[in-house]
Amino acid sequence: MSALVLEQKELNEPLERVALERVWKRPPGFIGWITTTHHKDIAIRYIVTAFIFFALAGILAFFMRLQLSFPENNILGPDRYNQFFTVHGMTMMFLFAVPVMEALGLYFVPLMIGTRNVAFPRMNAFGYYTYLAGGILLYVGLFLNIGPDTGWFSYVPLSGPQFSPGKRVDFWAQMITLTEIAALVGAVEIIVTVFKMRAPGMSLNRLPIFVWAQLITAFMIIFAMPAIMLGSGMLAMDRLTHVSTHFFNPAEGGDALLYQHIFWFFGHPEVYIIFIPATGFVSTIIPVFARRKIFGYTALVLSLISIGFIGFGLWVHHMFATPVPELGQSFFTAASMMIAIPSGIQIFCWIATLWGGKPQMQLPLLFVLGFIALFVLGGLTGVILASVSLDLQVHDTFFVVAHFHYVLIGGAVFPLFAAIYYWFPKWTGRLLDKSLGLWHFWLFFIGFNLTFFPMHQLGLKGMPRRIYTYAYDSGWANLNLLATTGAAIMGISIVLFLINVWRSRHSGVNAGPNPWHSPTLEWATESPPPDYNFVYLPTVQSREPLWDEVSPPVVCGLSNRKRESLITTLMEAAPDHRYELPEDSIWPVILALVVGGGISWAIFDPWAVPISALLTFIVLCFWFWRGNEPASLTHHVQSSEDLQLLKSEANKI
């Protein structure tokens, strides 16, 4: 493969750049916007949309907290409150947490592994539009009083046809189908891109931990999401006119408990799907701000893999109060405690990295420190909840609400903010304002603790979850008022953050290509990166490529007349063949319209299913029509013609 590798001084970078700009340019205007297949465009759209949903869900939560500030309050009646807490949960879990984590992966994985785009750019676009359709479906339902109102988990029989009349729960089921399609699409992209498109020399043991985290998450998504699609599909079929199955009808041989098993088999891995990418952010940020390489790379990777596996063996700990056999429950107690070990290994390795480094107290590191403080607390209350006897007291109380907000906000949102402060200069070329950022951090940290720490106490004092109000004689009023105050402070901090982002986009301090002097490859190109990511694809010789003494050779010879990238082998990342990436296309949008419209229409009429299946087939025919297909799919560079072509192209440069 040495023909592909030339000395840097022989390359004509400006000419190459001009040619690549031409090839990778988007059509102008709205058409260009809607047909784009650039992974960075799609990822930014995911992130912005996810944050809009985050804000909406936060507003819903704030109304819930207002309602709970005083006993027998009447801001929200029971029906409205039930819709609010259901949509809050669904938005945070399906429309914010998983998509934003996947989106950061879709943006940075190709950059960190040194390639030009994800493996299937058009499918990537389709995934985003399907996700958007799901979110719109849910919120149109909420605003028209058809919001689902049986909880984000939607247990039967309450969500079954008898006890939930109307179409509300059907909105729940179909919204899940749409967002899970998007999640599966993202997972497939990550796996194939990571396995096949890495820079030469980036063997698996040189993969950045961020990429490992995204890879493991993607595998978890592929195994977990089908369970919820099955569960929501079975519920939808139970409820549908003319279909009316009896999956969860005990009187006809069905089982209400089956639903819980299917749901939580997805539900528990879901929270690790949210948490593992966050650990990837932390493992990326700590070395940069400790100014030394991460401690315990192998241990960290193995911990992530074991969390990925063990995470599938914990689901019954959500069901300890149900009549499942006690011996089985003990097994899940043991597994739930066991998963604390790999999480603990990660914490210890991070602290060890900081111990041997010189921590620079920049905002990303501050958020990471907040993460460690809060996540460990949440993890320890998780160990408490793993015990069957203790869980029987605090299950379905505000103790659990406190626990999961500590692990989700502490364990995922804090690293997410750290990631945003860290990567904002890569996206926009400017730094976020530091003093506004400090206000954001401290208000968020203090507000968060004020909101959720009292909830541990409330749970122990007997306050169950999912209640729209409580009695005067319960003794819960003071702590609830305290929690609402904390929520207000959190809200203010988010507003400050949004102001910071808005202002810094255009008037923040200029950052160069690598303001934090980080070692990973995304910092080897401009800020923001051009559409083709790198003029010449890099090669790597270590885990921290940009911290090496000598910069390694680059790959050249890829065509600058069509969109092309390099496929490498799985283990050693040796170059294998060239891969032509498709042009921008309208078909992803159209397919998303068909799929989204069909799935939404299926709420009202089962005929939507065969009709939209037929339309999907037709659209896919157009999508895969010959002539649209990239020409050189398995074009090995070993042939002498290719070598000639490469040499002549190299000479032209």
Binding site: P78, P157, K293, P323, I345, G356, S387, Q393, P464, R465
Partner: protein, 353 residues
């Protein structure tokens, strides 16, 4: 003071404040009904002991982790300050890395041992919880409805069976078997002072054994989201000495009090000739409705409407006229009674002791 040192100081302050808050919270939360940490029976005692065991261990672990984290940040302040944006990358010393590896290995081993201890503690507590049994224990069948609790005291002799609602009496010091079933959706029977919760799932009848060791009135609440009025589905468990319990039981077994005054007689007529009789039962009259709670001895109950309101005349009047105001979505309809009818009905219901 340099900016970085100020940040460290603020950090330490926050942690200190957090620890103090933690202790304050812990101190204030051990009293009261419906409190997990205020056990009134053996089952809840086992769990409460386990809680404190877990609590102190996890708090110690947390403090250890925080100490190491803060030390990792602070100890480097003694080294020369590295300005932001420095290109300097620290080399790694393989001896130090090895020492750290051994230390972390030991920490993992310690964590594993701790988790094992916690697991065993849970296992033994579980065994204690399940060992509460008695041969001919009092058996109460509790059926969850949307949004009230039906309780049937089972007995070999059919006429000794007692059907009541929302308030359960138990003798102190004896194991009681609670059989749990659901009439409609999933509910969860939870009386924190006495035991953990158990879900009532249609198609999965189950059992809970409890024992009250201290006399008192314990409050419970449904703990599985069951619809609009999940928030207002409470129950009371009254634990009393054996002789008081037997008095209560025989009272409950008897037919309803026969109305004596003119108003009470009129009230009985109102009950039997308007909507009440369609859903409620009063033993000893023709009223035998199974839809709503049994009202045979309703005047003896401390609360009404599944713990929503105290059992007093004004509250009862408001509940009868407009249940939807107090519990929107409940199955009991609004009523149009004239004030004569209402007063008579109240007199009658108050006589049902």
């Amino acid at each position: 003071m340099s900016r970085r040192a100020r940040e460290h100081k603020a950090w330490r302050f926050n942690v200190g404040a957090g620890v103090i808050l933690l202790m304050l919270f812990a101190a204030s939360g051990c009293r009261g009904s419906q409190n997990v940490l205020n056990p009134g029976g053996s089952q809840a005692s086992h769990i409460s002991n386990l809680w404190w065991f877990y609590f102190w261990i996890t708090v110690s672990i947390y403090c250890l982790v925080l100490i190491f984290l803060i030390s990792a940040i602070i100890r480097t302040t003694r080294k020369p300050f590295v300005p932001a944006g420095s290109r300097e990358v620290l080399p790694t010393n393989s001896d130090e890395e090895r020492r750290k590896t051994i230390f972390i290995g030991a920490a993992i081993g310690l964590s594993l041992a701790t988790l094992f201890v916690l697991f065993l503690a849970d296992l033994f507590t579980g065994r204690s919880l399940h060992s509460l049994r008695a041969a001919d224990a009092l058996t109460i069948k509790v059926t969850g409805h949307q949004w009230w609790w039906e309780a049937v005291y089972e007995d070999q002799v059919a006429s000794n069976q007692v059907t009541t609602a929302n308030e359960i009496h138990l003798p102190v010091g004896k194991p009681v078997q609670i059989k749990l079933a659901s009439h409609d959706v999933i509910h969860s029977f939870w009386v924190p002072n006495l035991h953990g919760k158990k879900d009532l799932i249609p198609g999965h009848p189950t059992t809970l054994w409890i024992q009250a060791d201290k006399a008192g009135v314990y409050r419970g609440q449904c703990a599985e989201f069951c619809g609009h009025q999940h928030a207002h589905m409470r129950l009371l468990v009254v634990a009393e000495d054996e002789e008081y319990f037997q008095q209560w039981l025989s009272r409950e077994r008897s037919n309803a009090h026969i109305p004596e005054t003119e108003n009470q007689i009129h009230g009985e007529k109102v009950f039997l000739q308007t909507t009440c009789v369609m859903c409620h039962a009063i033993q000893g009259t023709v009223a035998n409705g199974k839809v709503g709670p049994n009202l045979t001895h309703v005047a003896n109950r401390r609360m009404l409407a599944a713990g929503r309101i105290p059992n007093a005349r004004g509250y009862l009047a408001g509940w009868i006229l407009d249940p939807q105001h107090l519990k929107p979505g409940v199955q009991m309809p609004q009523h149009n009674l004239s004030s004569d009818q209402l007063q008579a009905l109240l007199d009658y219901l108050e006589s049902l002791n």
